[in-house]
Amino acid sequence: MLSDEEITNWPEAETATAAPVIRADHLDLTFQTNDGPVHALKDVSLDIAKGSFVSFIGPSGCGKTTFLRCIAALEHPTGGSLTVNGMTPDEARRARAYGYVFQAAGLYPWRTIGRNIALPLEIMGYSRAEQAERVARVLELVELSGFEKKFPWQLSGGMQQRASIARALAFDADILLMDEPFGALDEIVRDRLNEELLKLWDKTEKTIGFVTHSIPEAVYLSTHIVVMSPRPGRITDVIESPLPKERPLDIRDTPEFIEIAHRVREGLRAGYEE
């Protein structure tokens, strides 16, 4: 279990270290299916630095979700190496290195919002008092204070997804992996959650891996945009965003933003034409 000091220092994690948190080196993953092998990932090499916000974008079947699942040890690569905090993904999972947010909120209908967020804490053996304290803190972080006693069906889709983000933040994982978390939400809600996610990232200084279909979402959120293409799933471009850390929503109308979006679109098209 974590010491008190680590817990109180949690929001100010160190950011300056240069060593990558996630390092993929010539990663390969082939699924054996009835129709023959499917090359889900081929020769994927990528370093993700601590505190960065990395988006994975590409058409369906490009392996972006598979790559995220490899980091989370939900899939096992068939070649190459992958380390998370210098450990294998399995070890990293046991060390509670990351929180994972799925496309659906996946809250348990029989638990209140507060008890849903406490779920990982219960499983990991936190004391009752600490569970309550952490639940209150992350609820405030995602602006859901006051909804602790509500059941999921009493909340809108956007609020449910925020609760699921809070659940992933409740234990002190440095890495947040998000698999199209806002994909099922309408654009207005999505915009607001994007803005809130950036604030949250700024406050907590976590390393975030974010899978998306949306070019504006990827450009708006990320420090690095990884463009991927399918058959076999591979990286075609890694774009480092020159946008400042402070990003109001209307930054999307600036020439810089449009230029990066253009480059992402070009990368996606190049992947298709090969």
């Binding site: 040890a73 509670r96 209908p109 779920l119 602006e143 909804f147 956007g158």
Partner: protein, 333 residues
């Protein structure tokens, strides 16, 4: 902030007001009663005509032997003048509804209040009353249901967690239900008797035999109901098998469990009654068989009616428990 959806809109989707549901139910009951009364006439026509002949009424054909070979409806139409006692004959093949109700009253309220062995005079329930026999049956039903539900839930947990159990137990569970219980029940009783077990336990075993199966099937389905995403979420927490079971699988299975329990409790009652047939030591099953030995059809029907009422009450009780549990779990508004 997005606003919380209004809980009120969900609760109102329940349908008709209660009093509007009554007329269709009553109409159905009346229609069944009418069919029953009509059916009583041809069913009892031979006995009624024989009795009428003895009383001096002219019937056609006059010979009982001739009548035996004739169709019931033909006799009814040839002797419409002599059918006055159809609904009040002493030993009817099919008693009229009011005869069953009178028998029901006599063997419950009247027997207990006024009978020599009734609870008012003797202080204990009369062994000639259906109240006593219903309680005997209910005892075995509850014990069997408890054993069956626990056994079923235990097997389901095993089946979900062990491939070996999945492959080995499930086929046998299915085979067990293909054997007619009336064939198996006497053997269970004989085998248990030979090792010195008799009375309540053999009946409960038969009840459990019938009731564990729906629980196994429902619970296996329920324990497997969490989708891949929910299982992945548990994996990202490195949750133990026990955690996944208690925090995800079991709560997910509750709605399935209650559906199974409703079937299981009704099956338990059937099991207990079947278990009482070979052993004439009380219970609704024993009453039914005794009634058939002595041609007391009204007694059989009265016992049947009590059994049906019990089954309805038991299923209703499970449904009430289900509503309460789901509401407390927050899965029902």
């Amino acid at each position: 902030m997005a606003e919380a959806s209004d809980p009120g809109t969900r609760a109102s989707a329940g349908g008709w007001p209660r009093w509007l549901r009554l007329p269709p139910v009553l109409g159905m009951v009346l229609a069944l009663m009418a069919i029953w009364y009509v059916a009583v006439v041809p069913m009892n026509v031979k006995e009624v005509l024989t009795a009428a002949e003895r009383a001096g009424v002219e019937v056609s054909p006059p010979s009982a032997v001739d009548r035996r070979d004739m169709g019931n409806w033909a006799l009814v139409f040839r002797n419409t003048h002599a059918l006055g006692n159809s609904w009040s004959s002493d030993r009817p093949k099919l008693p009229a509804p009011h005869q069953v109700l009178v028998e029901l009253y006599d063997s419950t309220i009247d027997e207990e209040l006024n009978g020599r062995r009734g609870i008012v005079r003797s202080g204990t329930l009369s062994n000639r009353s259906l109240v006593y026999h219903a309680l005997v049956t209910l005892n075995a039903t509850f014990l069997g249901f408890l054993i069956g539900a626990l056994l079923g839930a235990g097997l389901a947990v095993g089946i979900v967690h062990s491939r070996v159990m999945d492959m080995s137990v499930m086929p046998w569970a299915i085979v067990s239900q293909t054997i007619p219980i009336v064939a198996l029940a006497p053997m269970i009783i004989v085998v248990l008797y030979s090792i010195g077990v008799q009375g309540l336990i053999p009946k409960a075993v038969i009840s459990a035999y019938l009731s564990f199966f729906p629980v196994v099937v429902g619970m296996v389905k329920g324990l497997r109901s969490p989708d891949a995403m929910q299982m992945d979420l548990m994996r990202t927490y490195s949750a133990s098998t026990a955690s996944v079971l208690t925090k995800l699988r079991l709560p997910s299975s509750i709605p399935y469990l209650f559906a199974s329990l409703k079937i299981a409790i009704a099956a338990s009652l059937v099991g207990a009654i079947v278990g009482e047939l070979p052993v004439q030591k009380g219970g609704l099953g024993a009453r039914m068989l005794a009634g058939s030995y002595y041609g007391q059809t009204a007694q059989i029907w009265a016992a049947l009616l009590v059994a049906a009422t019990l089954a309805a009450l038991l299923v209703y009780a499970i449904a009430a428990l289900e509503r309460r549990t789901l509401r407390r779990m927050g899965m029902m508004p």
